[in-house]
Symmetry: C2
Subunit: 345 residues, 2 copies
DNA sequence: CTGAAAGCGCTTACAG
DNA sequence: CTGAAAGCGCTTACAG
């Protein structure tokens, strides 16, 4: 609406009501599809609402305590860790897909650190502006989770291990996934395996490390874990160090695609062929892994489906339904970067 | 706060007021750092607010017409176009960096299509829930832009060409950037150049195509444009077709990193070496381009800085300041995927 | 410096 | 089926 001075005015249900000759209560019932108004009135109101290009004011609805049909995700992402961007973009693509099917929207907000993330959560809960919250990359004794538990607001912890009336965890079986990768490699004859990790403060990375070490012991295979942090620089350093070892590994597992690509670069610089000298596995799959030459053997887990499952669990929690916890499986996509170990070095 | 039945109650300024023995008006002034209350009162109020873990209710503030210090970005992203994910994650990383410096937050919302994007914009404006809006991937005669112009809400169009009192465009000089790439290639002796494009309905892609064709004519060089859509499949097909040409190009430009990587795969499959037989340039730079072997020659434009500039422009617009339109430059990062053309084919 | 009141746009009991 | 009123939590004139 434009007033006499040409300024844009907000269109409210009161405007519609006065044009339609009814009260704003009737308009509210009409536009929300609730019973209590005659069909004739409803049609007239909807027609006028359309003419005036009326839009519901979310703030007013929220204040009134109505469900917002929104889910919140606050994200702490240090700018330097570019690898996580791919994960994060794919994750929210999946989450969005699951949410939009039930007409929920995804509210995303960036935070500089974990404490700010908690502040954002608290404000969302105080303002009733999201029906549920998704938490990524939980730490052990995560303050965000403790606060959400206290607030009693529905939340899903991706990669966590908390479960209560209001909190559910989506926990990919990282230990089993690691063993799946290692079985793939040992079945190809590899007996010396390196593992270059992501950020070790993440719970799921520690789970993978434990599983790696356990497998090495049980299978009597030589293994080495080098701590990375998702950056290519660290991946290159770790790869060089592994290759300098007197018992040089014939296969290396990387926690991310970017680290795996960087590692392959380091191997190529060192004059080592993939897979002729060293086999390479990336934990995370993506289109780049597929189109690369040599194409990368990966675990067929992708962030898109993780996002879908997390959102679906949160919607169950919000709806008061039991959370479906499907056991997740993952298999190795055998591409060109892994091959049978060549004869004695 | 927990009531007698153990349920969590929302803490409001009224709760603080009653504990502090003042009115809610005084609390409002105190927590917002406005004059009108004594220092003693302010301290007492802030102390109590902290004790009760009070959080401002955004919906109430918004409804009251107060600036939300938020910027909105509604995003239409077909799930299939994975390439755009990298762009988009980097873009919002940059935007977020610029915004948080001025304590603005970024509201992100996914939309299934352009019409829904417009609906979201309209609701944001109606509800006063963002101070400004960022629009990505404008089309010619873009309905989103026309609506924002009508609504008179501050907006920045990334890659657009609209400019008015409330709308600014961040327009990288795609034509000049294309010429920069082509000058790099011709200086290396290339006289037959292929170009595999992204989605042609995007304005900036069409600008690049025009510049490519113009350069070919002016320089008397043989050029071929093949329409892609950012997918690796189309990039592979286009590359194969270029290589089958009787006047096979010695260099190919790709509109994205993913397409360039896919193209290099196709070249390798065809038994062609990079850069020995064919030089390859990617329009967009990233860490993957850098760690890849051979590393990819790229235009040193990255989505992070584009996000920063877009957000900065929007903040200027919101603040009523003139929008700073720095002329953007870009240069070619010469890596291993381009080299001087080898002697006669 | 402080208090009482109005109102942002909407929904929801409660009467008629 | 419709109308009048209260109230969500907050801010901002306006009085004292």
């Amino acid at each position: 609406m434009v007033d006499s001075r040409g300024r844009t005015q907000r269109v409210t249900i009161a405007d519609i009501a006065s044009r339609a000759g009814v009260t704003s209560s009737a308009v509210s019932l009409a536009v929300n599809g609730k019973p209590g108004v005659s069909d004739a009135t409803r049609d007239r109101v909807l027609q006028i609402a359309r003419e005036l290009a009326w839009r519901p004011n979310h703030a007013a609805r929220t204040l009134r305590g109505v469900s917002t049909h929104a889910v919140g995700l606050a994200l702490t992402r240090p700018e330097r860790v570019i690898e996580q961007e791919a994960f994060f973009a794919r994750f929210i693509t999946g989450a969005q897909a699951a949410l939009s099917r039930q007409h929920f929207s995804l509210q995303l907000q960036m935070a500089p650190d974990l404490a700010s993330e908690s502040t954002i959560h608290a404000e969302w809960v105080a303002a009733n502006s999201v029906d549920g919250i998704i938490v990524l990359d939980p730490r052990s004794h995560d303050p965000r989770v403790e606060q959400l538990e206290r607030l009693g607001h529905p939340a899903v912890i991706v990669g966590g291990e908390w479960n209560s009336a209001t909190i559910a965890s989506i926990r990919p079986d990282d230990a089993e996934f690691m063993r799946t990768i290692l079985r793939h490699l040992t079945s190809l004859g590899h007996r010396r395996i390196g593992y270059v990790t992501g950020e070790q403060s993440f719970l799921h990375i520690r789970t993978r490390i434990d599983a790696f070490n356990g497998f090495m012991v049980d299978a009597g295979v030589w293994g080495a874990v080098l701590a990375g942090n998702f950056t290519p620089e660290r991946a290159v350093d770790a790869t060089d160090r592994l290759m300098a070892s007197p018992s040089r590994p014939t296969a290396v597992v990387y926690d991310s695609e970017l680290m795996a690509i960087a590692g392959m670069g380091a191997l190529s610089t060192a004059g080592l062929g993939v897979p002729s000298d060293v086999s390479v596995v990336s934990w995370e799959d993506s289109l780049v892994c597929q189109v690369l030459r040599p194409s990368l053997t990966t675990l067929d887990r992708d962030a898109v489906s993780l996002g879908k499952r997390s959102a679906a669990a949160l919607l169950s929690l919000i709806g008061g339904e039991p959370v479906d916890q499907p056991t997740t499986t993952a298999s190795v996509i055998h591409r060109d970067s892994t091959a049978a170990v060549s004869d004695a070095p």
